[in-house]
């Protein structure tokens, strides 16, 4: 009962506090909103990179090179085994077909291959994996499994390109995290500074509260609720801006970055998970700002 009365009181005080100093709170909400908007856009950029990594991983076929001395029947057996494992299609490429393909790829220089005493190329199996396995991790596992087969010399799926893209994606992700931490801390201090103005305006009230027996926690609570409200409103502002942005330029971006997206994938700026993350981020920023501000005030 007492907790309920306290909670109701804290909310009443917080709402009154927002009403009494709307401009100060608006500034804090706007700051949080802008930071979260930037974070939301950065998140979309990162997911675009992820999508690129995945689509490249999906496009690359797995080529399994067999050892010297492998026969057409053993190559067919390997192809059957890999095909049944992955649920995709596997095609045997004979040494002659491989040489012809190489010659065609080398164009003018390709004729030099005619002078080779024998065909140095082995039997190989070209594997197109099922869509569910078209990602770097699954391909890596599949290549490792193929390499472990006795007749297999090597397996290749453009590992380096995928690894490089994954590394770029990871670097961008870390850079984003560092940037968001720095900007987030700056925001906490901006929010704290704005809230400090609101707290200063209510210093008499706090003094009397302390004189009549309020604990520090009791004094802090309404300001924390105020900070939380600011955070949630900031997140709502960021979500609205993201939605407006996606409505205005979303279709153009979809066309522009279509080559980066998996087939059928949609470039989405606003989704339930983005909304949850932004609301959580806003809440954390608002609460941290108010915690710093009221803590600093009570110390003095």
């Amino acid at each position: 009962m007492r907790a309920l009365a306290n909670t109701a009181y804290f909310w009443r005080c917080a709402v009154q506090g927002v009403r009494r100093a709307p401009l100060v709170h608006l500034l804090a909400v706007f700051t949080i909103g802008m930071v979260l908007l930037a974070a939301g856009l950065a998140r979309s950029g990162i997911s675009l990179l992820d999508s690129l990594t995945e689509s490249i991983g999906g496009e690359v076929e797995l080529t399994v090179y067999l050892r010297e001395g492998a026969t057409e029947s053993s190559a067919a057996e390997v192809a059957r085994l890999l095909g049944s494992k992955t649920g995709g299609s596997a095609m045997v490429v004979t040494p002659e077909a491989a040489l012809a393909r190489l010659r065609a790829e080398l164009r003018g220089v390709g004729d030099a291959l005619r002078d080779l005493p024998s065909n140095p190329l082995p039997y190989s199996v070209q594997l197109r994996v099922a869509p569910a396995l078209r990602n770097p991790a699954a391909l890596r596992a599949l290549a490792a499994e193929a390499r472990a087969m006795p007749l297999v010399q090597d397996a290749d799926y453009g590992e380096e390109a995928v690894a490089r893209l994954t590394a770029i994606s990871r670097a961008v992700r870390y850079a984003g995290l560092v940037a968001f931490t720095v900007i987030g801390l700056a925001t906490v201090f901006i929010v704290a500074a704005t809230l400090q103005l609101a707290i200063y305006a209510r210093r008499d009230e706090i003094e009397i509260q302390k004189l009549v027996g309020a604990t520090n926690r009791f004094v802090k609570a309404p300001f924390l609720v105020e900070g939380g409200i600011q955070g949630v409103l900031g997140a709502a502002l960021a979500l609205a801006a993201l939605w407006a942005f996606s409505q205005a330029v979303g279709p153009k971006l979809q066309l522009l970055f279509a080559f980066l997206l998996r087939p059928g994938a949609q470039l989405s700026l606003v989704s339930p998970s983005v909304a949850c993350e932004l609301l959580l981020g806003g809440g954390v920023l608002g609460l941290s700002g108010s915690f710093v501000a009221v803590g600093r005030f009570l110390k003095t």
Partner: protein
């Protein structure tokens, strides 16, 4: 109820406010603390509700040694001590009801109960009709009664009043002190700091007289009056 043993209080680079004060105030007593300006009356009261800590000596309130309680325990002590401030300390943008309700909100009393108790308290101090007024629209006496109502609304066992009639005319002074006497009759221990000699002669209560931070007299009204007349 309140005990002080060899209490001294001093601030850096200033002469001591209180020196070697020893006194005892029993439950249900009404005590005037008097003396000239700067004698240490307000400091003495501040020590009793932990607004200040003694530099040396022991202060016991309701059996608790204030020198030893942690800062986090101070609010719980204050919930049992009502304080009437000389400068009122009212929130000018809040109504009389809201000002009086403050200590109840701190205690987590429900809104309905809070309203009921505030209404009763305002009736008791004769301000029921001013419940929705803002403090600046009240007279000095009315404002002081609001402060008393706020100090008493959570039924503390001790009431400390620092110059409660300092800014009031003689008529309002009597009105306020009658109210404090009524509070005392109902069982609350009342300590009033005042430098108003007329108050001391009108109300025959125990007097603690301070001078230069020392207790120079502790006794009944007649001897106190004689002492004041002497100097």
């Amino acid at each position: 109820m309140i005990q002080m043993f060899h209490v001294s209080k001093s601030y850096a680079s200033a002469p001591p406010c209180l020196t070697d004060v020893t006194l005892q105030i029993d439950k249900g007593e009404f005590v005037f603390v008097t003396g000239p300006s700067g004698a240490g009356k307000s400091t003495l009261l501040k020590l009793m509700f932990c607004a200040e800590r003694a530099t040396s000596g022991q202060v016991l309130v309701d059996g608790r040694n204030l020198g030893r309680i942690r800062n986090s325990a101070v609010p719980f002590l204050r919930r049992n001590v009502g304080v009437v401030f000389q400068d009122f300390k009212l929130l000018l943008q809040r109504t009389v009801s809201e000002n009086v309700a403050f200590p109840l909100q701190v205690l987590g009393v429900s809104r309905v109960e809070c309203e009921e108790r505030v209404r009763k308290m305002l009736r008791r101090v004769g301000l029921a009709h001013k419940a929705d007024s803002l403090p600046p629209r009240l007279s000095g006496g009315e404002q002081q009664r609001v402060v008393i109502a706020r100090a008493l609304v959570n039924e503390p066992t001790i009431l400390l009043a620092d110059e409660p009639t300092g800014n009031l005319d003689p008529e309002l002074t009597i009105e306020i002190l009658d109210l404090l006497c009524d509070v005392n009759v109902r069982g609350t221990t009342v300590v009033v700091a005042t430098h108003d000699a007329s108050v001391l002669t009108r109300y025959r209560k125990r007097i603690i007289r301070l001078q230069g931070g020392r207790v120079v007299f502790d006794g009944n009204e007649l001897r106190g009056r004689a002492l004041m007349a002497a100097g």
